[in-house]
Amino acid sequence: MLDWLPENVSVFGEGVDHLFSLIYYISIAIFVIVNAIYIAFIIRYRRKRKGEKAYHYHGNNLLEFSWTALPFALFLFLAFYSDGIWEDIKYADKTPNPDLVVEVMGQTYLWHFRYPGSDGIFGRRDIKFISTTNPFGVDPEDPNGKDDLTTINSMTIPVNKTVLVRLSSMDVIHSFFLPNMRVKQDAVPGQWVDVWFNSTKTGEYEIACAELCGSGHYLMRAVLDVQAQKDFDTWVDEQYSNVLASLAAAPAQTNE
């Protein structure tokens, strides 16, 4: 059944998939054992003659104890084993130093992405400034924000680099789902959540919304483009020159 999993191209995805298959095989084993006993009982202990009596027996404390203790040990083991991987994925103090920070803003029904531009610094933002034309709420006074890059429904990142996504939403709750990266994180309005991943393979992957956000929920699809570092640099330069061009036109607009 695990063959149906989408291809994993994420660094921590291997740990997730390993845990997935471990629990899968444990479950299959328990399922087969319990149901084999069950079916054997169903066949063996049917009533064949009218009036025959069953075995009058109320239970056994040693058995009760052992089938309490064994599952308890198994489930605690699974919890602690899972927790190691969980901490690596989600705990802030275990997140590796990011090579690239991208801000992601969900809006019904599209995804906005924001890069810090050539100066490597994001413009200051405040929830007050958020509007349909300024989805990230960038402070118009802050010069650092002038060269920030933004894209819609398309995220470009370099391969083999730790990418930190800073996630929020401007209306309802969305969920940032990258099946191939084994990433899922809700985007909650009014709060920023960090989530990281590191893609090991170039290519185009799909980004989906995994939290019901309205009737267009299913349309909230974006593309993740993982590129080699030099292709990524070219892409950034291209985008940056576009920003410069629009900045040149900007003073005319502010005068109006």
Binding site: M1, L2, W4, L5, G15, V16, I23, Y24, S27, I30, F31, V34, N35, Y38, F41, I42, R46, R47, K48, E52, K53, A54, Y55, H56, Y57, H58, G59, L63, E64, T68, F75, L78, A79, S82, W86, A92, Q107, I130, S131, T132, G137, D171, V172, I173, S175, P179, R182, K184, Q185, D186, V188, P189, Q191, A210, E211, L212, G214, H217, Y218, L219
Partner: protein, 611 residues
């Protein structure tokens, strides 16, 4: 109260020449058995509405954008487009109403409302509930709320469309249908609390003489513990609903942060400063225990049915009771496992993972004890037994798939996918609904005084069992493939396109599963009026309800009761027969044995004489 004291025989087959008016008897009845029947009939009507909604959902997922066959063009224009295909707007309403109806208007009323009401007084030897009037109010809130919940159909914007979980801000900025949904759920919460208070009081105060708490059958224990969970959890849900109502209607900001961009609504009066996650905490503080509200009574019913038809004492009775109490307690501290990816502090994810893993232990204890009950039994595979046996097996699958979600890293991937949909249906359909079927058939003779049709019952079971698995097992695979819940059209995504044949397979199974339920209704409906007359104790069972006439009159029992034994003394070496009713005194046992021995002796002498 006078009605409760009247000893008049009633029921459809009985004489109708009694002093009660039709209205008092059938509509505003305070008799627990009539209220149980009212709950049952109303909930089965809602079962078909919720089921129809599910089939529309399935049709759209298997054949996106294609017109609904036969009835597509007859449906209102707010639901379908000109061609008769489901619209995205209606789809979100469908999935919301399917979940809400099935949980709040089908499973809870059937398990808690129907079985709680019918079984508790009869199984503890009481003449009625402690508060019959409260009981009537508890029922009447339910159909009113059920209709109100769907009332958005008549309003602009349609029915509620924010999912049964109604996460704000989506649910806080929604249509009037959402507001009606909130009010309806609030009323259903009241209905639950009124019922629960009644159950707790009745079980604690009205047991027959001689009946200790540990003489209670598992059904009564389970509903009793469930009632305690309801009284703890439901007020929290009510408070959350009140806040959501105010956010929706009075522009408060409990769940809405500053400066939400909502073009469709005037947000200038909403100040902001609220926290969307607050709703999720409050909602799941009720709604996770609600999952146990929906499964514990089922476990109780199944324990009784398994023991009766295995002709064997329930294995580890006290362990079973303590397991239910453990589930109820742990069930209150695991709500955060619905929120692992919600933006809640991941440290809480760790703690909720540990508590969630631990709650699997009492579930395992129950499963092993059910196996123990069947071990060296003499099983009779009647319809209730088949459904109970299926419950155990399906509950095992539902429990095991739960481990995947409990493990936080795996949950990162499968959260909000069809894996969850598969899991919840294995628990609530494979678990709860099979237990409902088991209970309906088991108590049908007592409830109506007539036998159901065994052959039809078995047909219904096998078709349901096979197509249930055909419908819900492949959903786990869809989830492993990453298919998100609640999406209108999976073919939008390239990585989901390979799963379309599986979606079609699921839909075909779901159609058969849905239509097979007409067999259930036909069987119960026909047998209610035309079935063979039932004896007092057709299953040769021990518990007290089988000591009452079938159907029991007002006041239930026609003779005073005294309880001498636990509920599961089957195949006792002390007795001649393979069962020992709880009311049989030691003197009666002795007398029966003497009688039996004399008869044996006479028989032996007769044969010796002939030789």
């Amino acid at each position: 109260m006078e009605a409760a004291l009247s000893t008049e025989q009633h029921g459809h087959a009985g004489s109708h020449g009694h002093s009660e008016s039709f209205l008092r008897h059938y509509i505003f009845s305070t008799d627990h058995k009539m209220i149980a029947k009212q709950f049952m009939v109303t909930a089965i009507i809602f079962l078909f509405i919720g089921g129809a909604f599910a089939l529309f959902i399935r049709w759209q997922l298997a054949y996106p954008g294609e017109p609904i066959p036969l009835i597509g063009k007859l449906l209102p224009s707010t639901w379908v487009n000109e061609a008769g295909a489901v619209t995205a707007e209606w789809y979100t309403q469908l999935l919301t109403m399917h979940g809400s109806i099935m949980i709040f208007a089908v499973i809870i009323p059937l398990l808690v409302g129907t079985f709680g009401n019918f079984a508790i007084p009869l199984m503890i030897g009481a003449d009625d509930m402690a508060f019959p009037f409260l009981n009537m109010v508890s029922f009447w809130l339910f159909p009113v709320a059920g209709v109100l919940m769907m009332g958005g159909f008549f309003m602009e914007g349609g029915m509620a469309a924010a999912g049964w979980t109604a996460y704000p801000p989506l649910s806080a900025i929604a249509s009037y249908g959402q507001t009606l949904w909130i009010v309806a759920l609030f009323l259903i919460g009241f209905s639950s609390i009124l019922g629960a208070v009644n159950y707790i009081t009745t079980v604690l105060n009205m047991r027959a003489p001689g009946m200790k708490m540990f003489d209670l059958p598992m059904t009564v224990w389970a509903v009793f513990i469930t009632a305690i969970i309801i009284t703890i959890g439901t007020p929290v849900l009510a408070s959350a609903l009140a806040m959501l109502f105010m956010d929706n209607f009075l522009h408060t900001s409990f769940f809405q942060p500053e400066n939400l961009i909502v073009p469709t609504r005037d947000m200038s009066r909403t100040a902001g400063g609220g926290q969307p996650l607050l709703w999720q905490h409050l909602f799941w503080f009720y709604s996770h225990p609600a999952v146990y509200i929906m499964i514990l009574p089922g476990m109780g019913v199944v324990s009784d049915v398994l023991s009766t038809f295995s002709r064997k004492p329930l294995y580890g009775y006290k362990a079973m009771v303590f397991a239910i109490i453990a589930i109820a307690f742990l069930g209150i501290i695991v709500w955060g496992h619905h929120m692992f990816q919600s933006g809640m502090n991941p440290l809480l994810g760790t703690t909720f993972m540990v508590s969630t893993m631990v709650i699997a232990v009492p579930s395992a204890i129950k499963t092993f004890n059910w196996l123990g009950t069947m071990w060296r039994g003499k099983m009779e595979f009647t319809t209730p037994m088949l459904n109970a046996v299926a419950f155990v097996s399906m509950f095992v699958i539902g429990g095991l798939s739960g481990i995947f979600m409990a493990s936080t890293p795996v949950d990162v991937f499968i959260h909000d996918t069809y894996f969850i949909v598969g899991h919840i249906h294995y628990v609530l359909f494979g678990g709860s609904l099979f237990a409902v079927f088991a209970g309906l058939f088991y108590w049908f003779p007592k409830m109506t005084g007539r036998m159901y049709d065994e052959r039809l019952g078995k047909w219904h079971f096998w078709i349901t069992f096979i197509t249930f698995n055909g419908t819900f097992f492949p959903m786990h695979i869809l989830g492993v493939g990453g298919m998100m819940r609640r999406i209108f059209d999976p073919t939008v995504y390239d990585f989901l396109k390979p799963f379309q044949p599986m979606n079609e397979f699921i839909t075909i199974n779901a159609m058969i599963l849905g239509f097979a339920q007409f067999l259930l209704v036909y069987n119960l409906g026909y047998s209610w009026f035309r079935g063979r007359k039932a004896k007092r104790n057709p299953w040769r069972a021990n518990t007290l309800e089988w000591q009452a006439p079938s159907p029991p009159p007002h006041g239930n029992f026609d003779r005073p009761l005294h309880v001498y034994h636990g509920p599961y003394e089957y195949s006792s070496p002390l007795t001649v027969q393979d069962y020992l009713p709880q009311t049989t005194s030691p003197e009666e046992i002795e007398e029966q044995r003497r009688h039996h021995e004399t008869r044996l002796k006479q028989k032996n002498e007769a044969t010796a004489h002939q030789e």
